[in-house]
Symmetry: C2
Subunit: 134 residues, 2 copies
Amino acid sequence: MPTTTALSQAQELCDTLTDDADELIREIITRLTDKWSLWVMHVLATTDRPMRFSRVMEQVEGISQKSLTKTLRQLERDGLVTRKMFAEVPPRVEYAITPIALEMFEHVEPLWLWVAKSVTLFQSAREAFDGRGK
Amino acid sequence: MPTTTALSQAQELCDTLTDDADELIREIITRLTDKWSLWVMHVLATTDRPMRFSRVMEQVEGISQKSLTKTLRQLERDGLVTRKMFAEVPPRVEYAITPIALEMFEHVEPLWLWVAKSVTLFQSAREAFDGRGK
DNA sequence: CAGTATCCAGATCGATACTG
DNA sequence: CAGTATCGATCTGGATACTG
C-alpha cells in the first residue's frame, strides 16, 4: 500500500505497540467521550488555578458527587489532574489541570472544531436516513 | 478572558450551537470511542472498495452479528458509510466508507498519534498513582 | 447471506443516606 | 467539606436461535 494517506502513519505506529499500550490508548481516548471527563477538565483548564471539590461540582452542572469523585480519580490516575489534600478541619482538597492535559486539549480541539463545523452535514445525513423510513 | 489559548476558539463556536447540534456533535465524537465503530471504519477505509457484511465481519475480529449490524446502521445514519443492497438470492449487501468519514479520519489521526506517542507518559502516571497504594 | 429476536451479564450513572 | 456505601434504572454488548 502506498504511504499517501493519513492512515499509513497510524498503521506503522500501531504495529510497534504492545497490547497494554494499545488498551491504555483506548482508555485515554475514552476519557474524551465519557459523560463528564472533558467537562471537568475544561472547567479546571479555564479556571486555571487549583479548585476545591465543591467548586468543581458547582461548575459542572448536573454531576453527582459519586460521578465527580470517580471522574476526578480517573483523571488523576492518568496524570490529567492533580489532587492535593490539606490537613484541615473541615477538609480541603484542591484539584488542578496538568500540563499534559493542556497539551492533550491542543490535539482534541482541532477534531472537535471540525466536527462542530461539519455538524450541518451530519444533520442532513440523518434527515435523509430517517426520512427513508428506517 | 484573553483569546490566546486553543480553548477560546472552541468557546466561541460552542456558544453559537443549538442544543440539538451540541448533542449530535457528542454522538459523532462518541462513535470514535465505542467498541467497534473506528475499527469497522478503518477496515472499510483501508480496503477502499465496497465490502460485504460477512467480509467486514471477518476483518473485525471478535465482533458479533448483532454488534456489527448496529455499528453499521449508526455509521450509515451519520453518513460515515454507505449501504447498498442487491436484489439477489442469496442477498448481497455492500458497505463502503464515505468521503466525509475519510475527512474525519484526517482529524482523528493527529490526536490518536499524539496519545500513542505519549503513552509512556500515561503509563508512568498510572504506575505512580497505583504505587501510592490507592 | 444478512440479518432479526430474545435473553442475559456487566458496566455506568443518579439518588439517597451516611461518615471522618 | 469531601467523600464512601448502597440501591436501582438504564445502556451496552455477547451468545444463541431463528428467518426471508
